[in-house]
């Protein structure tokens, strides 16, 4: 328990006294990242000094063809929802701008067609995936905050898992001093409490599209994050990287995140597994389960889903499962892969480039 603290970050940059660790405290790191993010956000807002109007056409049940006149570079889909009703504001998790998934707090830059997506639509698959990613991002944030300043926490990334896998996960590496540490019941409870506090604060996830140089500056203290930035810049269409900020933490993500932390209601950190030695140290995987406030589960159902979420989930099996589901070769896949999976875990994971 002495490795985990309840809350209260230090915002001043403070260098640890031991010679082995010469880096600022976690609080200072987050403060610096947030400052760079705010600076870039202000710079991007200043690109539109005069208020120009854009026309936004709304699509949705009961809204077909509604025209809204909004401000360019300032109005977000969230502000469009505020023109409608309180229900639209509370329930919309993601927006679809000209067919492209768009975070709810990202400013609109041209006349477009907008539809607000919620968890109870006909086809909420995009929203589900975004929700899974956001919960994993929240988990990463909780883990970063949970440990004392003298222990470093490196978040490695959020593997893209389909929702049917039963749990979202976040890979991370702890300080080498904590190699023998195993989470106890109380540590898991305090992690859950930390997550619930963030959910209660209802912080929005702000997004920003930046050039790789700015992103590298944001993550100047973390080598593995910089590698991730380079990977994402190489994969993206126009060479930009999207950063998300929640409260004080700035993070990268594989896709759009939902609007705010208050959308989650039931949230539990179910397990922390060891994945073995990798490029950055002892890799661990933290898994969790969450449901949004409109789709709460009865405690009997929740218990069953939670017991499933404590088992280790892995990308390989579920990614292929997900892919073959469309080709309907699921049965044969399961029969072939389950015995092979346990043998092939480490080399196949290396192939994915996380280690």
């Amino acid at each position: 328990i002495d490795t985990i603290r309840g809350g209260g970050k230090l915002n001043k940059k403070r260098f640890a006294s031991s010679p082995a660790v010469v880096r600022p405290s976690s609080g200072g790191v987050h403060g610096q990242r947030s400052a760079v993010f705010s600076r870039e956000q202000a710079r991007q807002r200043a690109l539109y000094p005069r208020t120009e109007k854009i026309e936004v056409v709304l699509h949705g049940p009961g809204l077909h063809g509604t025209l809204l006149i909004m401000n360019k570079g300032v109005s977000t889909p969230h502000s469009c929802a505020r023109h409608l009703t309180e229900w639209h504001v509370k329930s919309s998790a993601l927006a679809l701008v000209d067919g492209e998934p768009w975070p709810l707090h990202k400013p609109l830059i041209q006349s477009c067609s907008l539809s607000l997506l919620s968890f109870k639509d006909k086809d909420p698959s995009l929203v589900n995936q975004a929700y899974w990613r956001s919960c994993a991002a929240l988990l990463g944030q909780v883990l970063e905050d949970a440990f004392k300043d003298e222990y470093s926490v490196e978040l490695l990334g959020i593997p893209e898992l389909p929702v049917t896998s039963g749990a979202f996960c976040c890979d991370f590496v702890l300080d080498p001093q904590l190699d023998s540490w195993n989470p106890s019941e109380e540590s898991m409870c305090s992690l859950i409490r930390g997550a619930q506090q963030l959910i209660h604060q209802d912080l929005p996830w702000e997004s920003l599209e930046v050039t790789p140089s700015v992103a590298l500056e944001v993550f100047s203290h973390s080598r593995c994050k910089q590698e991730e930035v380079e990977e994402k810049a190489a994969k993206s269409n126009n060479g930009t990287v999207v950063l998300y900020r929640c409260g004080d933490h700035v993070l990268l993500s594989g896709g759009p995140l939902v609007a705010r932390t208050g959308l989650c209601s039931q949230y539990e950190v179910t397990a922390i597994h060891r994945l073995g030695e990798g490029a950055w140290g002892l890799h661990r995987r933290a898994q969790g389960l969450s449901l949004p406030f409109q789709l709460e589960a009865h405690h009997t159902v929740w218990r069953k889903l939670r017991s499933r979420a404590t088992k280790l989930v892995s990308e390989d099996f579920y990614w292929l499962h997900f892919k073959f589901l469309k080709g309907q070769c699921v049965e044969s896949c399961i029969q072939i892969l389950t015995p092979l999976f346990s043998c092939l875990s480490s080399p196949t994971k290396k192939r994915l480039g996380y280690y």
């Binding site: 968890f119 109870k120 006909k122 086809d123 909420p124 698959s125 589900n128 929700y131 929702v163 049917t164 896998s165 039963g166 389960l289 449901l291 949004p292 789709l295 589960a297 159902v301 069953k304 889903l305 499933r308 399961i334 389950t338």
Partner: protein, 166 residues
């Protein structure tokens, strides 16, 4: 006869009075039943629909005996005023309900009539009719987050059961 108080109070009396008298009531029911067999879904007042329901189901029971049965043919002849509906009854409706022992009709209430009488209305239909359903079955969305999680859970349970069997 003696005019007693019991004649005016109808507590516990289940038989409905319709039209001018018992003969008028049967004629009205005959007309409504003919309309039901012709169109397979009709809209009338609540009381009339409830009365016709019993006769509609009994008619199908008679029709199931087949058109060679004299009693069945007499019944069909009496109840259906339009005689070209008799072949439809024996050849279309009776085979449709072969597998079911009872429950050939469905009644659903609809908003009251707009006229001055504001009569309570109902829709009466034979099951298996070609029209869209009166009350479409509400199916839960398979793609919501919680249903997807439960789907994954069920698949894993099935997979485990399979591996345990082998």
């Amino acid at each position: 006869m003696r005019l007693t108080l019991q004649m005016l109070i109808s507590h516990g009396r289940v038989a409905r009075k319709m039209g001018l008298g018992p003969e008028s009531r049967l004629n009205m029911l005959r007309n409504i039943l003919t309309g039901l067999v012709k169109h397979e879904r009709i809209e009338t007042t609540l009381g009339r629909a409830d009365e016709v329901r019993f006769y509609a189901e009994k008619l199908i029971d008679y029709a199931k005996k087949g058109d060679t049965d004299t009693k069945a043919m007499k019944m069909a002849n009496f109840w259906l005023t339009e005689k070209d509906l008799i072949p439809k009854l024996f050849k279309v409706l009776a085979p449709r309900f072969e597998a079911q022992p009872k429950g050939y009709t469905r009644m659903a209430r609809i908003p009251n009539r707009e006229n001055l009488d504001k009569a309570a209305m109902a829709v009466l239909e034979y099951k298996g009719n070609p029209f869209p359903p009166l009350q479409p079955a509400k199916r839960e969305n398979e793609l919501t987050l919680i249903n997807q999680l439960l789907k994954g859970y069920r698949e894993e349970q099935a997979q485990q059961a399979k591996t345990q069997k082998d």
